[in-house]
């Protein structure tokens, strides 16, 4: 919160009025913006607090006609749900870790060093983003079947990592390139090797980029669907996205539990975000997305 405000400058005569009003107007605007992004999930929350039949009752009613308070207890007391949650946490954290570890050296090196194939590499990275996993899932299955890794966390962690690598490399590449070479040179004069320079100086300078890449990868891995669906056979190894389909089938609908479970599934992401959000703003550094 200690960020210097960068509000565009206003004409002088309007400034005084605005100064008095600003502390009141801005939070209200903030509330409106928050509502604009939250309202569907408020609908979702209300749907979790009514019996399933009430969700699809005609005519619609915004508030539940009949409140049901047990949904979250049902969901959180369900062993299947807890297993799915566990899988999602493990997979998302591990995928994010792999991406960060793999992307940093690649992004740094391509940002700082000219070498044969540099442009080709960056292009390859971009192109990997263009394949829809839906179209590749058969090949992915074949690969992990050949490697005897079907139904293992390893398989979906590696897949998530590979498909999210491009974003991380791109974002970090931009941040690394925007850090002036002089800083690095100073470090090198002090005798730091390239790796040490990267770890000690560049990483802290590129922190907003790192945070962006982390959030991005975590969310993408958290919400991955089609690959996990295909690779994870055991019910307790399915991630949440795949597992919660069970709540609503063609023959039986538990909308309340589906939405209750979905709300729970959002929480870890928001918590993670809340924990690292302040770094997104980059207190001392100023990296540019490039």
């Amino acid at each position: 919160m200690s960020v210097v405000t960068k509000a565009p400058v206003r004409p002088r005569d309007a400034t005084v009025g605005w100064r008095t009003l600003r502390p009141y107007v801005m939070p209200v605007l903030g509330l409106l913006v928050a509502f604009a992004f939250l309202w569907p999930y408020l609908v979702m929350l209300l749907n979790a607090f009514r019996p399933s039949a009430d969700v699809v009752q005609t005519p619609a009613s915004i508030l539940p006609r009949e409140w049901k308070w047990t949904t979250f207890a049902e969901v959180l007391g369900d062993e299947r749900f807890l297993a799915w949650l566990r899988t999602s946490v493990v997979v998302a954290l591990a995928s994010t870790a792999v991406v960060v570890v793999v992307a940093i050296p690649a992004a740094y090196f391509t940002a700082r060093v000219r070498f044969p194939g540099r442009v080709a590499f960056l292009f390859l990275v971009l192109v990997t983003q263009m394949f829809s996993p839906t179209s590749l899932v058969v090949g992915i299955y074949r690969e992990f079947f050949t490697l005897n890794l079907v139904n293992t966390y390893m398989a979906i962690i590696l897949t998530n990592a590979a498909f999210n690598l491009a974003f991380a490399i791109w974002i970090l590449h931009g941040f690394f390139s925007s850090i002036p070479k002089e800083i690095e040179e100073a470090a090198e004069l002090d005798g730091c090797g390239r790796l040490a320079t990267l770890l000690r100086i560049m990483l802290s300078l590129a922190r907003p980029g790192l945070v962006t890449a982390t959030i991005f990868t975590f969310i993408a891995a958290w919400n991955e669907y089609v690959v996990a669906l295909t690779l994870m056979l055991d019910d307790d190894r399915k991630p949440l996205t795949v597992g919660i389909n069970s709540y609503v089938t063609g023959y039986e609908q538990n909308w309340d539990q589906l939405f209750g479970a979905s709300i729970v599934a959002i929480v870890p992401v928001v918590v993670l975000f809340a924990l690292i959000e302040k770094h997104l703003v980059g207190g001392l550094t100023s990296g540019a997305v490039k």
């Binding site: 939070p27 992004f37 179209s135 899932v137 040490a196 969310i219 975000f273 990296g287």
Partner: protein
Amino acid sequence: MSSARPMVSGAAATAAPDTAPPSDSKPRRRRARARRGREPLHVALLWLGPALALILGVVVWPVVELVRASLSRYSITGLRRGDAGLENFRQVLANDALDTVLVNTLVWVVAVVALTMLVSLGVAQFLNKDFRGRRLVRWAVIVPWAASLVITARLFTLIYSYYYGVLNALLLKIGLIDTPIDFLGSDAWVMPSMVAVGVFVSIPFTAYVLVAGLNAIPGDVYEAARLDGASPWQAWRLVTLPLLRPAIMVATVLNMIYVFNSFPIIYTLNESNPGFGHDTTITFMYKLAFKSAEKDVGQSAAAGLFNVCIILIAVLAYLRITRWRKES
């Protein structure tokens, strides 16, 4: 591009460690010039190796399989029946619905990306201001991104429903409409309804890329603009926007790719419509394999390769138009 390079605060510059020993001995033997600029291929492989391994192992291998599948003849069960040559590609190109699907795709991508960028610019500016409760607003904005797309899409099918949808109930209540709108069934409304959801879920990601970009713009640039007597609008247009260009471009390119490849929204919101009337190339590809009478994974693979070509060309065209690589 280099013009957008921000200044660095003194605190960061002095953060350099004093006498850390180099972690590897090789660089020391190299000349300083090489250290700063060039490396031979084998050193590059060391740094890029893990990334390359992941990409080659997990992306390229399945791509090879995809190409193989596109050249094969398959039974409806998925059993491979031999080589098909280019027949699958011909079949896809001959599909009656192809024109509709391509137009839908164009509308979908252009509308979602353009609206997303526009709204996100505003949201990012706002999130970058300092005010009480800003953190909470930032947490709120991330929620549509944090929620799984499959679930958000399902949620919106309920919200949009003709009979029990909250949206219709609300519009009826405040008297904006007399009869419910068939958001997901009326041909005129399906695409706008899907676009609205597409924009809604794309904004958070985009806004945060732009927030990162805004953060990189040093405050003293504005100071200079003010001293020059620029109005807020002028300052934004002449200072913010050009400095934000790199972030805008990254966000646009990535959004183009994600929106083009977006599956759950279109598939779910369009679920009760027969045929290909509101499909994009991605759902078209999926339906070719599993839902339409073709039920042919070979054709679907061919369509998948066409898709990659389309988005590749679109992105390259965008980069060319906006002169992406001005610097390198």
